[in-house]
């Protein structure tokens, strides 16, 4: 176990964190994360439009179109919002003007679309590619736009205003040449040469998205996240930097299937799968451990259990990870890593066999897991059952390790008293 922690601290952690701290990946993560409020609220309109109760469903049916507009204009255009966020974050990281970077990125992304003339309505933009399926297009175009901006500004290729001109005015002039270059390049490639940038980028990332939906594709992030957390590093924020775009593309396909009226959704592996079925109580499924702590005869563990219960129900588990601690603890790190693998396999299996509905909604991550799982699956009660089963399983897995750790602590506590 010593060797294992050494491997994580010296090999896995430096590499993984270096990747996740890479400037572009960080901008992608921050940009996408900034759209999450829209995704959460927008996805809730899916539940309202397709409520799990039949009587209610009949009631809203005539108005489904209207109810879904907030969904279509948030989640359905998620990549557009993300492109602004990514461009803003990336420009900021270079100490360039964030707003210019964001707007330029959005324009570069929109330029990859071809407006369609619709009789009687004027020009329309096909919305399909603005949603989650265009996520990788948004990422690539935003990086392209901001890199052009940086290239030109570094070489001082820009209009400089005389002193005394208000800064905001000067800035908008500074962005003129970058905007000209970005728009012209995309225009030539997409509209003159008619090279379909969107198709090309989507096809390029297709294998990655496909892999993210397989059982190994689900287990690898689970393992990496618990490995990192067992060294006390925020695993989700590191792994999410790479996986989040994939999760969003998968989620988007499921949401689209819901609005199309599909009974079975195509994907198992969007983020809610991890959040509600695997990370019950936080990464490592620590709610089970907190429950065990509550029964402990060690006064320290009992106190910690009480203090960690509410945060744990809300899926915040730093108190347990650092308090118990699980971090670098050769006893508790084992079930912390094994438990989520087992519940991950079980949950994947349950969804693959269609015993439990697949996730299509992103509820706020601080909800208690059974409620979150119910909402995430569009209201499947069997999802609640699966969560409860997973809590039982992780409790059983944690139990022997908890007992052995408790014994050690009680011994230490007794020694302290007698000393």
């Amino acid at each position: 176990m010593e060797k294992f922690f050494e491997f994580i601290e010296k090999v896995l952690m430096p590499h993984m964190t270096k990747i996740s701290e890479q400037r572009h990946l960080r901008a992608i993560r921050d940009g996408i994360v900034s759209t999450i409020p829209l995704i959460i609220v927008g996805s809730f309109f899916l539940i309202i439009a397709f409520p799990p109760i039949p009587a209610l469903a009949d009631l809203v049916k005539p108005n489904i179109g209207k109810i879904l507009f907030p969904f279509r204009l948030t989640m359905g255009m998620m990549s557009l919002y993300a492109s602004y966020g990514i461009g803003y974050s990336l420009a900021k990281s270079y100490r360039l003007d964030g707003v210019s970077g964001g707007i330029l990125s959005m324009a570069a992304f929109l330029m990859t679309s071809v407006p369609q003339a619709v009789e009687g309505s004027g020009w329309m933009l096909p919305m399909d590619s603005l949603g989650g399926s265009g996520m990788f297009v948004a990422i690539i175009m935003s990086i392209f736009a901001v890199e052009i901006l940086r290239f030109l500004q570094n070489r001082k290729i820009m209009f400089t205003m005389p002193e005394g001109v208000p800064e905001s005015v000067a800035r908008s002039f500074e962005a003129l040449i970058p905007a000209t270059v970005v728009l012209t390049i995309v225009w030539i490639i997409r509209h003159l040469i008619e090279f379909d940038i969107q198709r090309f980028i989507m096809d390029l990332f297709k294998p990655l998205v496909y892999a993210g939906n397989t059982l190994p594709g689900v287990l690898v992030p689970i393992l990496l996240i618990t490995f990192l957390w067992s060294a006390g590093i925020h695993g989700v924020s590191v792994v999410g930097a790479i996986a989040r775009p994939i999760w969003l593309v998968l989620l988007n396909q499921n949401m689209k299937a819901v609005t199309d009226g599909a009974k079975v959704l195509p994907n198992i592996g969007p983020e809610p799968f991890f959040q509600w079925f695997v990370w019950i109580g936080g990464s490592g499924a620590t709610l089970a451990l907190v429950l065990l702590f509550l029964t402990s005869k060690s006064s320290y563990l009992k106190k910690l259990g009480k203090a960690s219960l509410l945060p744990g129900i809300c899926n915040i588990n730093e108190p347990v990870i650092f308090g118990a601690p699980i971090m670098l603890n050769p006893i508790l790190a084992i079930p912390f890593i094994i438990g989520p693998i087992i519940t991950g396999i079980i949950s994947y299996g349950a969804m693959a066999l269609n015993l439990v509905a697949r996730p299509s909604v992103i509820p706020p991550w601080t909800l208690p897991a059974p409620i979150g799982a119910y909402l995430a699956t569009g209201g499947d009660l069997k999802a609640v059952l699966l969560v409860l089963i997973n809590i039982c399983i992780t409790t059983i897995i944690y139990y022997p390790f908890f007992k052995s750790y408790e014994k050690k602590l009680i011994k230490e506590e007794n020694e302290e008293v007698s000393a």
Binding site: I233, H234, A307
Partner: protein, 101 residues
């Protein structure tokens, strides 16, 4: 009065630690203002007159980024130890804060 800024990933878990610090500070009559933020807010927030920055252990791999900005502003910055970063870690953190003044 001293102003302490706590940084974690999303500003959630550090909020728990803020409570613990405030509790201990009240006990020892220490006048502190403590705020928890997520790492995304750090760049914009750190310049708002904070005296000390404390970074949560789970994002210590990003310390270099945080440190760079804090050094520019001449604000002492430090990573919290795992056992300090817990609902029961307030006492230890108060000691740490005292040593950083």
């Amino acid at each position: 009065m001293k102003k302490i800024l706590l940084v974690c990933s999303g500003g959630m878990s550090s909020a728990i630690v803020v409570k613990s610090i405030e509790g201990e500070a009240a006990k020892s009559n220490l006048d502190l203002i403590v705020k928890a933020i997520g790492s995304g807010e750090y760049e914009d927030e750190v310049g708002n007159g904070w005296d000390i920055v404390l970074v949560a252990p789970q994002i210590r791999h990003r310390m270099k980024v945080f440190e760079g900005r804090a050094k520019e502003l001449n604000i002492p910055i430090s990573v919290m130890a795992p056992m300090e970063y817990s609902p029961m870690g307030g006492k230890k953190l108060i000691e740490k804060i005292r040593n950083m003044f």
